[in-house]
């Protein structure tokens, strides 16, 4: 009975939009509303942070820092007119950039290896039981090569690609978030795609050469 009731409650929250959930949490301190908000967006936010810092431990810290700010500053700084997720993403993005600047290093482009946790980026991915082992391997290889190429992009281009991919953020918002004009943001995306194409072409050429050498 209780379980059904809780299911019903959670279904009710699932039907609400972000704005209402935020209002419930702000006005009534409704924890379930906040949980629903987190469930909706946590993966994308975490993926963005992780793809930028390439370090599980640091990604955890930044993710936690982001949500701590969200919880404590929601009453003071969040304006209900704007999208809640855009506001959260701004916090996450700023925290990520701060971290990268503090470290005074850019992400190691040659490896996805996470030194602290001794795991690779793909070790953290959920298992897909339905996909056969061979397909999974091919998929992983494709993903791996994609991530490798994305890592080779300049940071500004990578940011735009990630913000667009994970949030389908309009370029106007990306431009505001990264403090550039819309044309610059569009230009960065275009160069990112051109560079990625070149990298894929290069990879393909190398593969073909190695096959030819073996043959």
């Amino acid at each position: 009975m209780k379980l059904e009731q809780s299911k019903h409650i959670s279904r009710k929250y699932q039907q609400l939009d972000d704005k209402d959930l935020v209002r419930f949490y702000r006005q009534n301190g409704d924890e379930q509303a906040f949980s629903e908000l987190m469930n909706r967006h946590q993966t994308k936010i975490y993926s963005y942070i992780y793809s930028m810092v390439k370090d599980g431990g640091k990604a955890d810290d930044i993710f936690q820092e982001t949500f701590t700010k969200v919880i404590t500053k929601m009453d003071d700084t969040y304006n209900e007119q704007g999208k809640w997720i855009a506001w959260v993403m701004r916090i996450a993005h700023n925290a990520t950039i701060d971290y990268l600047r503090k470290q005074k290093r850019f992400v190691d482009v040659s490896s996805n290896y996470d030194k602290e946790s001794n795991t690779d980026f793909y070790d953290r991915l959920p298992d897909e039981d339905l996909v056969s082992a061979q397909e999974q391997l091919e998929k992983d290889e494709a993903k791996s090569s994609l991530m490798r190429h994305i890592d080779e992009l300049p940071e500004e281009q990578r940011q735009v690609v990630m913000l667009r991919h994970y949030y389908e953020m309009p370029f106007k918002e990306i431009a505001e978030l990264t403090d550039v004009s819309i044309n610059t943001a569009l230009g960065r995306m275009r160069y990112a795609l051109i560079n990625l194409r070149k990298l894929f072409d290069k990879e393909k050429e190398q593969e073909e050469n190695s096959y030819a050498e073996r043959g």
Partner: protein, 227 residues
Amino acid sequence: MRNEDNNDCIRYLMKEMDPSEELLMERAMMEDEDLLIEVESMRQTLKKLDQLPEVEPPSHVTKAIKDKAAEQAEKNRQHNKTLKPAFKYAVAATLALTISAGGAWLFIGGEKTNSTQQQAATASVSSPAATETQDINQVSTGNAESSSSQFAGSNIQNQPTATTPETSNIDPWIDREDILRFEDQFSNQQKQFQTILQRSTERLKLIQEPNIQNNRVNSIQLTGSGN
């Protein structure tokens, strides 16, 4: 090709164009094969981005955040509980202050009005006594000046405070527009007052040929654009 034109490829692929712009872009691609190849090539690369993985945050991190959110919610509830009575008290105190200040203001205002009325009484009493023997015309003009100057400076100094039995019946008053009435002064001299009225009426003449023209513009002027 300009940079903005190049960016149009991205805007087209990302569906950030108006339908009319999209139509123009498609027309341009039909006419320019290079542009078509460029857009299709970018579309292929963009498709590969769909394979970008999504990473779940560790459960202990999300749990810690949810706990923190619950804690903050509790804090907010407590804060609201303490803030609401405080707010109520503040409103009550403000209301009480406003009412008492208003009451005090009314009381002081009433006191002032009384004192002014008393002063006015003494002022009007002093003037008719002094001018009773004079010509009525002089009385009317002279008293108006003297009494108005006395009222204008409401702090009357060296005024006689004692009233004679003759004037004790007079109850002068000041209206709020500072118009002084002297009829009380003539209440005991009806004959003289009637004479003044008669003389004044006799002086009035009918206007035979009015020279003053009314130059007012009575017509209505319409304004606004012709469209």
